[in-house]
């Protein structure tokens, strides 16, 4: 595990922390972007170039912007009066800590059995394309339908409200 790994990890984790902890929503959204970016770098380090770039394109390019838009549309930039954390934030923290504990424990327990080395897979985009069209064509189509439905749904949800307020 090289230094690079730790740096990138720090970026991702830090971004995540910041996204969750910052009071200002816009700042949180930007921190989220950082976290996404860090994760994309991690993908690249894992020789999953396509995934990494897809991550940047979709998450950083679309989802983060979407979140910012939503924040702006819902006046999230204004600081709420009662505080950003719920009254029972400790319970949630404990639960999340519990989840992390379980997961970490599992990972560490199975540590010795995990493979140490693996050769860099010789994967090209062509291969990915082939796979999508051949083996995974059905999920592909379904995802296409899903995306269409989501698109339509989002439009409808947003549109109805518009008509009413008019």
């Amino acid at each position: 595990m090289g230094v690079v790994f730790y740096l990138i990890s720090a970026l991702a984790v830090g971004g995540a922390l910041a996204a969750v902890l910052l009071k200002n929503l816009v700042h949180a959204a930007l921190a989220l972007t950082l976290a996404f970016f860090g994760l994309a770098l991690l993908f690249l380090r894992l020789d999953a170039q396509f995934a990494g770039f897809a991550q940047i394109l979709v998450y950083v390019g679309a989802v983060a912007i979407l979140v910012v838009f939503a924040i702006l549309l819902t006046r999230g930039s204004e600081l709420p009066k009662e505080g950003v954390f719920s009254k029972t934030w400790l319970v949630g923290l404990v639960i999340a800590a519990g989840v992390f504990a379980v997961l970490a424990w599992v990972v560490l327990q199975t540590g010795p059995w995990l493979p140490h080395e693996a050769a860099t897979p010789a994967v090209t985009v062509n291969d990915i394309g082939q796979a999508l069209m051949a083996r995974y064509v059905l999920p592909l189509e379904i995802v296409a339908v899903l995306l269409t439905a989501a698109l339509l749904g989002a439009v409808i949800v947003a549109m109805h409200e518009k008509e009413r307020t008019k």
């Binding site: 949630g92 639960i95 999340a96 989840v99 379980v102 424990w105």
Partner: protein, 696 residues
């Protein structure tokens, strides 16, 4: 006695015998029809009653004529029609009727006298508002009595017997608003009931012993030689044969119905009923039913004695001995009481009891014909006397106390004349009147009775007393001066006509019973009877006739000497009372028999009723209440369980569920983050479980 040709028995039923059942049935049906009429339809009611009885009388005449023609041709007529009514197990309950001389004679008498009294009642009850009801009951009575007469089955006889008793009750208590009338009716019913219980026992025993209810049934009837022979073989208690014991039981029934000692107490009280009732039921017919019953079952009573048909000669049976002594004692007992009575009808009532005693004694010593002859003659002149008394009561404005009457001879000549005829017939005035011949027949038989002479002397003494008290009565009522209020008047024609007719028969009937021509006896005993004046020359007969005449005349003379033609005042005590006060007191109070019964029988009855009441209320009632309490307690327990345990438990359970549901619902607080937390916790737990189970 004359021996006649032996008659050949004629047993096949002729036409009239087949239709004989109509004779009682028509008046009963008429009674039913009258019962449905409304009260105002008086003429219709009496019309129906009289019409039905006319019809019965007509049929009775036809039947009598048929028997008479058969007798004159030398047949002993006994026609029987039997039928089976119901079947109980293997036994048949049979009913039937019989037509023989005894029945024929009785039918004619009952129907004829009954018809006359019905006609008389139109006048007597004219002002009564319950006129229709009266004729309904009268009709029913007539039907029942006629049924008793023709019955060939002892059960049918008993049914008619009971029905006669019922109608007697209804008619004695006709004016039921009067407490004394209601009490008298009840007393009559209960007293005759005592006799009827014994009758029923005798009937059942007879049926059990002989296996048949029928009297005459082509050789196997209970009064026919085969059955009687069987009865004589069985011995009951106290040296009696079954025949004797059954005979005594049946006689007990007759004692009740005919008012013999000791069950005579109801008859004088029965005078509470209207006078036609007294005339018909308690003089001529119902009380005669007892005598008729003994006459009907005479073969049973006399079984075992050496007999000619229907007549005991030497040696009597225990049953007949009892009958004779009871009859003779009753004759004297009642006559003594009659001497000291002041109510015109009571005197006649006791006279009836006395004469019934004569009839019973006659049956006992002389056989069926002797007793029946007196019954027939007595029916006519006693009915006459009662109706005449009724006429006198009417004329004296409903006064019944003889001390307040008097001098009615002048005001009511027709009544007086007919009454005098009846009175002389009753006394047995020599030669001219039927009573003389019938009573003499009894005296003669008693004189020759082989068992004892006691009854003879008693009966002679009774004749003396009869003449005495009748003279007393006639003197008080008709002679002297009128001691009442207002003016007495004669009764209407509709009442005096029957009196005249009866008076005629009171004289004429004597002709068929004289020793010169004992037609009646011959008719009943199925013997030919030529007219022979030689009959008078039987040894001892003339002496007897002389003796009885002397006795009667001396009785009349004594009465006349004490009471006749003396203008006594109403408040003055009786002449005899003045002479012998203690004797008078005893006689006046009827020998205190009623008081004796009251102190013993009635007291016992009240005591046992009280005991029964106590038992019923405390013991049985207590048991019932206890059982009820148990059930009530059980029900209460059930209720408690149901309310508290079942319901309560159920309600509690539901409450718990509701509460827990409410508690659980709090989890659904509508906040997504909380749901998410719970999800995460669930995941953690699941993972932990998986890990731990994996580790195992």
């Amino acid at each position: 006695m004359q021996e006649g040709l032996a008659f050949t028995p004629q047993l096949s039923a002729s036409n009239i015998a087949e239709w004989l059942w109509l004779v009682p049935a028509v008046p009963v049906v008429a009674s039913g029809v009258i019962a449905l009429l409304r009260q105002p339809k008086r003429k219709l009611a009496s019309g129906i009653a009289i019409g039905s009885l006319c019809f019965s009388l007509l049929l009775a005449f036809v039947a009598f004529g048929h028997v008479l023609s058969g007798w004159s041709q030398g047949f002993a007529v006994r026609e029987v029609v039997n039928f089976s009514w119901i079947q109980v197990g293997s036994a048949q309950v049979e009913l039937g009727w019989v037509l023989d001389p005894l029945a024929a004679v009785m039918l004619v008498m009952v129907a004829f006298v009954g018809l006359l009294i019905f006609i008389y009642s139109i006048g007597y009850m004219a002002e009564d508002e319950n006129y229709t009801r009266f004729f309904c009951f009268l009709s029913l009575f007539a039907g029942a009595m006629l049924g008793v007469v023709i019955a060939n089955s002892i059960l049918l006889l008993f049914m008619g017997w009971e029905l006669v008793g019922l109608t007697s009750y209804l008619l004695i208590g006709f004016w039921y608003q009067k407490p004394s009338a209601a009490a008298a009716a009840k007393k009559a019913f209960l007293t005759t009931r005592v006799g009827d219980v014994f009758f029923l026992l005798g009937m059942v025993w007879l049926f059990a012993q002989t296996g048949t209810l029928l009297f005459y049934d082509h050789g196997v009837g209970s009064l026919e030689p085969l059955a009687l022979g069987g009865l004589l073989v069985h011995h009951a208690a106290w040296g009696l044969t079954a025949a004797g014991a059954i005979g005594l039981l049946i006689f007990a029934g007759a004692v009740g119905k005919s008012g013999q000692l000791p069950l005579h107490v109801w008859l004088p009280d029965a005078m509470e009923g209207p006078t036609p009732v007294s005339a018909l039921i308690h003089a001529a017919t119902m009380v005669a039913a007892g005598v008729y019953l003994i006459a009907r079952v005479y073969p049973l009573m006399s079984a075992g004695a050496i007999i000619r048909p229907f007549v005991t000669a030497s040696g009597s049976t225990p049953a007949l001995i009892v009958v004779t002594w009871v009859g003779a004692s009753t004759a004297v007992f009642a006559a003594l009481i009659a001497v000291a009575q002041n109510d015109i009808k009571r005197i006649l009532a006791y006279s009836t009891v006395s004469q019934l005693g004569y009839m019973m004694a006659g049956l006992g010593v002389g056989g069926v014909a002797v007793g029946m002859f007196h019954l027939i003659t007595h029916a006519f002149f006693k009915a006459l006397l009662f109706m005449g008394a009724g006429s006198a009561i009417h004329g004296a404005h409903e006064e019944q106390d003889v001390r307040k009457m008097g001098g009615l001879k002048a005001a009511m000549p027709a009544t007086f004349a007919t009454y005098a005829v009846g009175m002389l017939a009753l006394c047995g005035f020599p030669l001219l009147f039927s009573g003389f011949w019938s009573k003499d027949g009894i005296l003669e038989a008693a004189q020759h009775w082989s068992v004892a002479r006691g009854p003879f002397y008693l009966l002679v003494f009774g004749a003396l007393l009869t003449a005495f008290y009748m003279t007393r009565q006639v003197s008080y009522v008709f002679l002297g001066e009128y001691r009442g209020h207002g003016h007495p008047h004669e009764s209407p024609r509709v009442m005096t006509m029957p009196l005249a007719i009866l008076a005629f028969f009171a004289i004429a009937l004597g002709a068929v019973g004289t020793p010169a021509w004992p037609w009646f006896r011959g008719f009943l005993e199925n013997r030919a009877v030529p007219f022979e004046t030689a009959g008078f020359s039987e040894p001892g007969l003339a002496a007897l006739m002389l003796t009885s005449s002397l006795v009667v005349l001396s009785g009349l003379g004594l009465g006349w000497w004490m009471y006749g033609n003396k203008s006594t005042k109403a408040e003055e005590p009786d002449a005899l009372e003045k002479a012998m006060p203690p004797v008078w007191a005893v006689l006046r109070n009827k020998f205190y028999v009623d008081e004796l019964y009251g102190a013993t029988v009635i007291a016992f009855y009240w005591w046992s009723a009280k005991v029964a009441d106590w038992l019923d209320r405390k013991v049985w009632g207590g048991i019932v209440a206890g059982v009820a309490l148990v059930f009530s307690g059980w029900a209460q327990l059930n209720r408690f369980l149901d309310t508290n345990v079942v319901d309560g438990g159920f309600d509690k359970g539901c409450e718990e569920i509701a509460t827990s549901g409410g508690l659980l619902a709090r989890v659904q607080n509508g906040r997504g983050q909380i749901y998410l937390r719970l999800l995460a916790v669930g995941v953690v737990i699941l993972a932990a479980i998986l890990i731990w189970s994996g580790r195992q």
